[in-house]
């Protein structure tokens, strides 16, 4: 007997899995989403947040471009609060770019992308950041910024309101079957090691770049090619609108103004495993140089951190590599293809088309389950309670999710000064069992995403682990250190300019003022090795026993 039962188990907590969960819940199908890390901690949360008009794909990948056009319009209706409608420029800076232009214009026409050629003078008037290298400009009103974290949380909260469940840090370790039919999944909590089973009628594999690993548990093959892309976060928006280079997609040719920062992307390199994503400082530097060709201020802005994500490209058997491969998606019906009933995979695609991907795979599974209700995810907004939604930057808490930016910022208490996150924005998440680490709080509220990279707010969040979650000091301190270390990883590849000063302040606070390095060493000792004060020189504490001091560095 399984520990719990449900209708459908969705594996994967990225935009696709969250979209599937919402779709199922809207069709009245019971569902549980399991995710081995946190929601939006894989490809989705590591995207550059460009809401694609389709312009980037219209020459080489028309089918994907057309999907972007349609889905972009749907998202503007249903997920308005996660979108900043910036519009975008496609700019040419070289002879090769100019040669690409006719193909670009033709592609936009075929895909139905609104595209207007404007003079460089007019473009500069609207967007003074455009560099002196810019030779021609197209205005693409439907490019924008899509906040991937809020998109996932919005879908998940919408599904939760309809009774769907979410289990984070829950890894699928196997399946239960009855002959050729799947009857459930076996899971393991990646933090506690606790094993559970969930009985179900169907399983949807929405794990993107990890889809092959899940399929292998059933001894079937799903070929996904993991392709790494590196992004750089600049400390301010740099431009008003997104800027794309008008050429064959290459490195460092997208600038996305996103809330308080700008994200510069990206690169393309096949990697052996979706979790092996090294970032070299010189590739970051190269991207900044490329970005600086399009917009002033890119090379002088403070690079705050770099991060890498992995595209889940589905291998359709073609010879194509990386960017040449289609950004299209595919639904795999494993009953038809492999004779495993109750199992489907959804692979390929991109964040912009997550809803359509969810619809297609949910259609298949619903059909197999005999559910005839059709998909309604394109109809109502993620937050069903409010029709009058505003855009991302100004939204009130319409998603039923605490918002990152307050309405009246003046003199309000803040947990994170960099990103203007208030105590009431973080407090509810400490009560959510899906939230297990301080990084999870960050993904949901933007706490710690600003220039100080959690130097200040990490302490306040650790405090809340003790006061709100009743954790002990060492656990909270470890969580604080983990958050700082995760942030630090992204800082290292951009370690120049003001970053040194920032790092020295962070180290000064935590190592010199708090003595955190010794606290971590002490915590990693067996309990008997208490960090006692040394014997006093004169008064004496009994003398005799010397405090034991094994030289163990804090290990992570």
């Amino acid at each position: 007997m399984p520990d719990t039962t449900t209708g459908v188990v969705v594996i994967g907590g990225g935009s696709t899995g969250a979209g599937v969960l919402r779709d199922l819940s809207l069709r009245g199908i019971d569902a549980v989403l399991v995710e081995k890390g946190d929601l939006a901690s894989g490809t989705t949360g590591r995207s550059h947040g460009l809401l694609h008009s389709g312009g980037r794909y219209c020459v080489n990948d028309l089918a994907a471009a057309i999907e972007c056009v349609e889905e972009g319009r749907v998202l503007r209706r249903i997920a308005k609060t996660t979108i900043e409608d910036t519009g975008g420029y496609f700019v040419s800076v070289s002879e090769e770019d100019l040669a690409w232009e006719p193909r670009f214009v033709e592609g936009c026409g075929k895909a139905g992308i609104t595209c207007e050629r404007i003079s460089v003078e007019e473009a500069r008037r609207r967007e003074p950041a455009l560099s002196k290298h810019v030779r021609t400009v197209f205005w693409i009103p439907e490019d924008g910024h899509l906040d991937p974290f809020y998109l996932v949380m919005g879908n998940v909260e919408s599904a939760r309101r309809r009774g769907a469940q979410v289990r984070t840090y829950t890894e699928v370790t196997g399946f239960t079957r009855d002959g050729n039919r799947l009857t459930g999944v076996l899971t393991r909590d990646t933090m506690t090691g606790e094993e559970t089973s969930i009985g179900c009628k169907a399983v949807i594999n929405a794990t993107g770049a990890w889809a092959g690993f899940v399929a292998r548990l059933l001894e079937v093959e799903v070929k996904v090619v993991p392709v790494k892309g590196v992004m750089v976060v600049l400390s301010h928006r740099v431009a008003h609108a997104t800027i794309n280079r008008c050429h064959k997609p290459g490195d460092g040719d997208i600038i996305v103004p996103a809330l308080s920062v700008a994200i510069l992307g990206t690169t393309s390199a096949r990697v052996p495993h979706p979790e092996v994503l090294p970032i070299e400082w010189d590739e970051v530097r190269h991207m900044i140089e490329e970005g600086a060709l399009m917009a002033d201020g890119v090379s002088t802005a403070r690079a705050m951190r770099a991060y890498a994500g992995v595209r889940p490209l589905y291998d359709l058997g073609a010879e194509a590599e990386g960017r040449e491969m289609s950004r299209n998606f595919a639904v795999i019906d494993h009953e038809e293809r492999d004779g495993i009933a109750g199992f489907a995979s959804i692979v390929g695609g991109k964040v912009t088309t997550y809803r359509l991907m969810a619809e297609r795979v949910t259609d298949l599974v619903a059909h197999r389950l005999g559910v005839t209700t059709s998909c309604t995810t394109a109809e109502g907004p993620l937050n069903d309670r409010d029709d009058d939604l505003d855009q991302l930057r100004h939204r009130p808490a319409q998603l039923g999710v605490p918002k990152p930016h307050g309405d009246e910022l003046s003199l309000q208490a803040l947990v994170c000064e960099c990103e203007l996150v208030r105590p009431q924005d973080v407090a509810p998440w400490f009560a959510d069992p899906a939230v297990r680490t301080l990084e999870d709080i960050r993904r949901r509220t933007r706490t710690g995403m600003g220039p100080c990279q959690a130097a200040i707010c990490s302490y306040r969040l650790a405090g809340r682990l003790v006061t709100d979650r009743h954790q002990d000091g060492p656990t909270a301190t470890r969580a604080m250190a983990d958050l700082l270390e995760t942030r630090w990883r992204g800082v290292r590849p951009v370690f120049w300019g003001s970053q040194l000063r920032q790092a020295q302040v962070t180290a000064g606070l935590h190592l010199e003022l708090f003595n955190l390095d010794r606290q971590l060493m002490f915590q990693s000792q067996p309990p008997s090795h208490a960090l006692l004060p040394p014997p006093l020189p004169r008064e004496g504490r009994g003398g005799g026993e010397e405090a034991h001091a094994p030289e163990v560095a804090s290990k992570r």
Partner: protein, 424 residues
């Protein structure tokens, strides 16, 4: 302008160097680049907390510890400055602190273990009297008190950690919270706001009464640890009165920025210099030194929209690390702001850092290579200028974070640089 000795810096190295010159009857000018984030990381003056970055055993006698460090590492900045400079510099500082109205305690004979805001014992050499009752060498039970709505000191976190490293026998530690009259927890306030309000008698008495009500059950001997917000400018008064109003020994614990302890220390010492006749050039970052004939002839300041040259007989470059602008980090090189020299030990970006934030950082070791007289040297190993001297963290080759030695090093090198500048 012309000066006898020009000292550039915002921290303890610059202050000690300037004071040494003043006490020796010289006529220094202090070039203060502006409020720096150095203020965030100062509370106590740490001379040597641990013998190296990985030892868990605190150094008991900082004087002996530094002597051993000098013997083992003749190139260490402490060795260049010398143990005598450390002793003389500390004597000078302690006398100065008293004259400026501070009550500081401590000596090279002993490190005190004082609890931090995460509840970790930390070895400290010199400290304000207002922190002394936190001495973890004593057995009296501790109550850590926080304030409702103030998240920059969390007593529950500190108490939970402290109870694991300290808390044997009669020792006990507990967290309480009281509310601050008139402070609405939905509104933003900082340590400075609380510090100012605690200078008000009625406000302070009301807070003291609340604490007394909650702390008495821990017995007559209990001592109360509070965030370091006990007064901004009248701190010794606030401390005395608060302690008598409370009826228990109290002690301050450094908080998240803004650090009231750092502000008190740096602002008042700088003000005292000015009041006693030292000229200060305010908020003027230095950006170039002019060299000729083996000497530094002038340094150029960016001051109020124009460039101002300062001509002195000797120069003390006492910027401390990246925190207050001692280096300019490009992608491929790190240079200093005076000579635009590539500084020693600067590598490519990822080589500048350790994988872990909590280990010794290569970038912290970046700085000027110096002679035994603390003169900055060029690539050829010869002094860039016979009359320029470096003090503080801008000297290459050491990372104060792991050994907890920032303050002592600033004092020793600041004092020594002043002696050399007088002789130059």
């Amino acid at each position: 302008m012309k000066a006898d000795v020009a000292v550039v810096g915002s921290g303890l190295a610059a202050l000690v160097a300037t004071r040494s010159l003043q006490k020796a009857g010289r006529n220094p000018v202090l070039i203060w680049p502006g409020l720096s984030s150095l203020y965030f990381v100062y509370a106590t003056v740490d001379v040597l907390g641990y013998s190296d970055a990985t030892s868990l055993q605190p150094v008991e006698h900082p004087g002996t510890g530094v002597a051993a460090l000098i013997a083992d590492h003749p190139d260490h900045p402490y060795a260049r400055a010398g143990l005598d400079a450390l002793g003389a510099g500390i004597a000078l500082l302690m006398e100065w602190l008293e004259e400026a109205g501070f009550r500081w305690r401590g000596s090279l004979d002993r490190n005190l273990l004082l609890p931090t805001a995460i509840g970790t014992p930390k070895p400290s050499c010199l400290y304000p009297e207002s922190m002394a009752a936190g001495d973890l060498g004593r057995d009296e039970p501790i109550v850590l008190c926080g304030f409702e709505g103030y998240e920059d000191f969390v007593p529950e976190l500190a108490a939970s950690n402290l109870s694991r490293s300290w808390g044997a026998g009669d020792q006990s530690v507990r967290a309480i919270r009281v509310s601050l009259p008139g402070f609405d927890s939905g509104k933003m306030f900082t340590s400075i706001d609380i510090a100012r309000n605690l200078e008000n008698d009625a406000f302070r008495r009301e807070v003291a009464q609340q604490i007394r009500g909650k702390a008495t059950r821990d017995g007559d001997h209990v001592r109360v640890g509070l965030p370091a917000v006990l007064g901004l400018t009248h701190d010794t008064d606030v401390y005395d009165r608060f302690q008598s109003e409370l009826g228990h020994p109290i002690f301050e614990i450094p908080t998240l920025p803004p650090s009231v302890l750092g502000l008190r220390l740096f602002d008042r010492l700088r003000k005292h210099l000015q009041e006693t006749g030292v000229e200060i050039i305010w908020a003027a970052p230095a950006h170039a030194a002019e060299l000729s004939g083996g000497r530094c002839r002038r340094i150029h300041l960016k001051s109020a929209g124009r460039e101002q040259p300062v001509e002195a007989r000797a120069y003390i470059l006492a910027l401390e690390d990246a925190v207050d602008g001692a280096m300019r980090a490009g992608v491929r090189t790190i240079r200093d702001p005076f000579f635009h020299q590539t500084l020693a030990q600067s590598g490519v970006p990822t080589d500048r850092t350790d994988e872990s934030l909590f280990k010794a950082q290569p970038f912290a070791r970046v700085g000027y290579a110096v002679t035994d007289r603390l003169q900055p040297v060029g690539d050829d190993g010869r002094p860039l200028a016979s009359n320029a001297f470096v003090a503080g963290g801008a000297i290459a080759g050491y990372d104060p974070a792991g050994t907890k030695s920032r303050g002592g090093l600033a004092i020793a090198t600041g004092y020594r640089a002043a002696q050399e500048a007088m002789a130059a």
